[in-house]
Amino acid sequence: MKKIFYAFVFIFILSALFTGAAFAQGDLPTDDEVNAVAHQLYCPVCQNTPLDVCPTDACRDWREQIREMLAEGKTEDEILQYFVDQFGDRVLSAPPVSTKFNWIIYIIPPLIILAGAIILFRSLKEWTTPKAAEAAAVEVGSGSSSPSDDYVARFEEELKKQK
């Protein structure tokens, strides 16, 4: 029984110590900590300005709000979520994938680029398929020569053109 009592006392003291430590740390968060969060947010009034560098008074107030929330022990995600709830998705630096619609922004460009790549490689393949007669007729340079020969040949050809 005593052991349990001591254990309780021990845990009590320990937790008290920790709470004390937590309070001691509860000084106001530094500007850098605030800016780290603010940098991920976009000012809801000024266009395209991250909150950490926005010079307006409104943004200064919002930064102070972040500082208070950090002091209260809120996590970064909680703070971001708070601003999203207040002002909508536009405060985030990129559309969140939480809504189905926003997936479009991440999907469309790769799809278009992929389509472009496929078209390009198909056409390249089509073009490079040897059509014996034609290929022979328009042959320029020789494939078998070494690269430096090729280079010199190219170079001299250009020199000739210049003359």
Binding site: N48, V53, S93, P95, I104, P109, G116, T128, V152
Partner: protein
């Protein structure tokens, strides 16, 4: 009086431009040379006319005619005269007139050339430039009139062009003045540079359309407009670089490029322009890709119009702003109409635009150029999509979203890496044919040396994997490009028996576009060093200091001395300037003075205190201070490593383009020129 005069002349030039369109089309279809000549003269007439109209506006701007609403918006009594002049493009109405003026100048310059065997292009070139001119002048006359004045109507002040019944002119005491952010020298020349770039892209487009309409789809139109495309690209690039420098100096967020829609608007035609400059070489050398070059020119034109509209109107901020702005839907209609008409023409001429030869191998230079085009188009897709997505989102879900730098950076970084790799490979590949073997043999030395550089950097400078990949690619491109200079000069030296430097300079002089292009590649790599530096290694901190206190960032120790505030009444601004002593390793380096200007209009402006070296920039912003005691202040401090290379690269970049675009007389022209001067001399001797 002057306002009515300016407006009247603008109206006349509009009508003249309309006439020139009609006469050109009618003359071309009826094959009537006098009608086409009449269209040409009408086109030429628009330039002096718009010059007159613009002079009227300048007169109003310089002489404080605040009864004119545009003058009221962009100038104030306290502004110096040169700023009043440049306020011409400080607002939407004025900049549309400026655009029209530039277009009239360029189109006139083109129509004045000797047409000889290209005469069939002439009416259509006139038509395309005049249609564009009609559109912009129409905007000026009907929607964004810079000559509108304030009138006192029954006690209310209203803007109207002409006096409403019983109204008297209302003249405000002073104007609003140009947005202080725009008073920076960079911002004074940045818009005209962009506009020069925008407007000169109209000319290649006009020739492309002429080629499609007349069916002369060989590469004649490309040869005629080669220099225009290069100059357009030069001005656009210059505009972008100036914009970046301005942002770094004035906007006060420690960066130079924020992926803002307005910046992207200027960047997009640059992307298609860059792709065009590369792929056009394939058409010249190999007669391939004619469809694609047409599409690139058309896209550039469409993006130029789109960009003009984006930069000034601010309508992309929301769907409502777009729908409510009188010119939003009009611009969109014009862009779509010209786009559809142009693409229809390309499809109509599709069979004529077939390639003349076949492609030989997947690694030939033309194939690599195609890959380069694919990558540029990918960046374009990402940019375009990022710019319009907020509108789409708002339209369909009612939810506004921001598409900020993280989106663009993540999406485009691998593509830029791919482009750098191509820059390292393509110069070594041959037209027509290359294999892995030939490429490998040409490349391995450079690749190995680049690898050594990377290993050294890994050991001494950074362990960041992205940075190392970047530095490897930079080293590769630099080495390959220098090798190209070396090999070319050596080969010439051997065959021509000259010394190395003569060989090098003659080689470059004879192949301006090619070696100008290589200079541009080198400058791009210098810029890449700066971009990698600031993007990956930027360090920032923020702190509040009392007088005498210090803060440490990287190797720098900053000691805050004092902060002072004072009003400058004539300039309508309050300055607050801090003094900071900078030390590195105990050694005193000098003072920095970050400044905050608060204009009485409420516009703040942060001027950083910046100490710039090749190693890094120490960039200090004054964020806040105690207004009463003035003994404590908050600073945001950045250390931006290597960023100076961005500006050095930009300078070299501009030199490279100028080198490539510099008019060199081709031998035939030179002979002709000589014989003309000889005749002239003989004639004058005979007198």
């Amino acid at each position: 009086m002057i306002a009515e005069f300016g407006y009247g002349i603008a109206l006349v030039s509009f009508l003249v431009a309309v006439y020139s369109v009609v006469a050109a089309v009618y003359g071309a279809t009826r094959k009537s040379a006098p009608l086409v000549e009449s269209a040409r003269r009408a086109m030429l007439l628009t330039f002096p006319l718009i010059t007159l109209s613009a002079s009227a506006l300048l007169y109003l701007l310089v002489n404080n005619h605040f009864e004119v609403s545009f003058v009221y918006e962009v100038t104030s009594i306290s502004m110096p005269t040169y700023l009043k002049v440049t306020a011409w493009w400080g607002g939407q109405a004025g900049s549309l007139l400026f655009w029209s003026w530039l277009l009239a100048a360029f189109a006139s310059a083109v129509t004045l050339r000797k047409w000889d065997r290209d005469i069939e292009f002439l009416p259509w070139v006139i038509m395309v430039s005049s249609v564009t001119l009609v559109f912009f002048l129409g905007m000026v006359i009907f929607y964004e009139n810079p000559f509108t004045r304030f009138w006192l109507v029954n006690g209310n002040v209203e803007p109207h062009m002409f006096a409403p019944a019983g109204a008297t002119v209302f003249t405000p005491q002073d104007g609003n003045g140009l947005n202080p952010l725009l008073r920076h020298p960079g911002m004074v020349i940045h818009p005209p540079m962009l506009y020069l770039g925008f407007v000169s892209s109209v000319i290649p487009y006009a020739f492309a359309m002429a080629a499609l309409i007349t069916g002369r789809t060989d590469d004649r139109w490309i040869r005629l407009t080669r220099r225009w495309s290069l100059w357009a690209w030069l001005f656009l690039s210059f505009g972008l670089v100036l914009g970046g420098r301005w942002a770094y100096d004035v906007l006060g967020w420690g960066g130079y490029w924020g992926w803002d829609p307005v910046e992207i608007a200027a960047f997009m035609p640059w992307l298609t322009g860059t792709a065009f400059l590369h792929s056009v070489m394939i058409q010249e050398k190999r007669g391939l890709l004619k469809h694609w070059n047409m599409i690139l020119v058309i896209l550039t034109y469409a993006l130029v119009i789109f960009g003009t509209f984006l930069t000034r109107s601010g309508v992309l901020s929301s769907v409502h702003a777009f729908a409510n702005s009188p010119i939003g839907p009009l611009f969109m209609t014009f862009v779509s109409a010209t786009l559809i008409a142009s693409i229809a023409l390309v499809i109509y001429r599709w069979p004529d635009l077939r390639g003349e030869t076949e492609m030989k191998s997947m690694l030939s230079r033309e194939a690599l150029f195609l890959l380069n085009n694919l990558l540029f188009m990918s960046v374009l897709v990402i940019c375009f999509w990022g710019v319009i997505f907020p509108l789409i989102s708002e339209l369909f879900t009612g939810q506004k979203v921001t598409v900020g730098p993280p989106f663009y950076e993540r999406a485009t970084a691998p593509i830029f890496a791919g482009l750098m790799f191509l820059m390292g490979v393509a110069p070594l590949s041959a037209w027509g044919h290359s294999t892995v073997k030939t490429l490998g043999r040409a490349m391995w030395k450079s690749a190995l040396m680049a690898l050594v550089v990377t290993v050294v950097l890994f050991a001494t400078y950074t362990k960041n994997i992205i940075a190392l990949i970047g530095f490897f690619l930079i080293a590769l491109v630099l080495l390959v490009t220098f090798q190209e200079f070396w090999r070319g000069a050596r080969a010439r030296q051997r065959s021509q028996k000259e010394n190395f430097f003569t060989s090098l300079s003659r080689l470059m002089g004879r192949n301006r576009r090619r070696y100008g292009g290589y200079i541009i590649h080198i400058s791009m790599m210098l810029m890449a060093i700066g971009i990698l530096g600031i993007e990956i290694f930027q360090v920032e901190t923020q702190g509040t200091l009392a007088a005498g206190e210090s803060i440490q960032i990287e190797e720098y120790k900053l000691v805050f001395q004092d902060v002072a505030s004072w009003d400058n009444n004539p300039q309508q601004v309050n300055y607050t300037r801090a003094t900071i002593k900078v030390y590195e390793g105990g050694q005193y380096l000098g003072d920095l003075h970050p400044r905050k200007d608060m204009y009485f209009s409420g516009q703040p402006m942060s001027i950083p205190g910046n100490r710039s070296t090749l190693r890094d920039d120490l960039y200090i912003l004054l964020v806040d201070w105690q207004p009463i005691s003035s003994t404590a202040a908050t600073f945001k401090i950045f250390v931006n490593p290597l960023v100076n290379w961005l500006w050095i690269g930009s300078l070299l970049f501009l030199l490279g383009i100028i080198f490539a675009a510099w008019p060199d007389q081709d031998p035939a022209e030179e002979t002709a020129h000589r014989s003309i001067t000889r005749h002239a001399n003989q004639a004058s001797a005979a007198d």
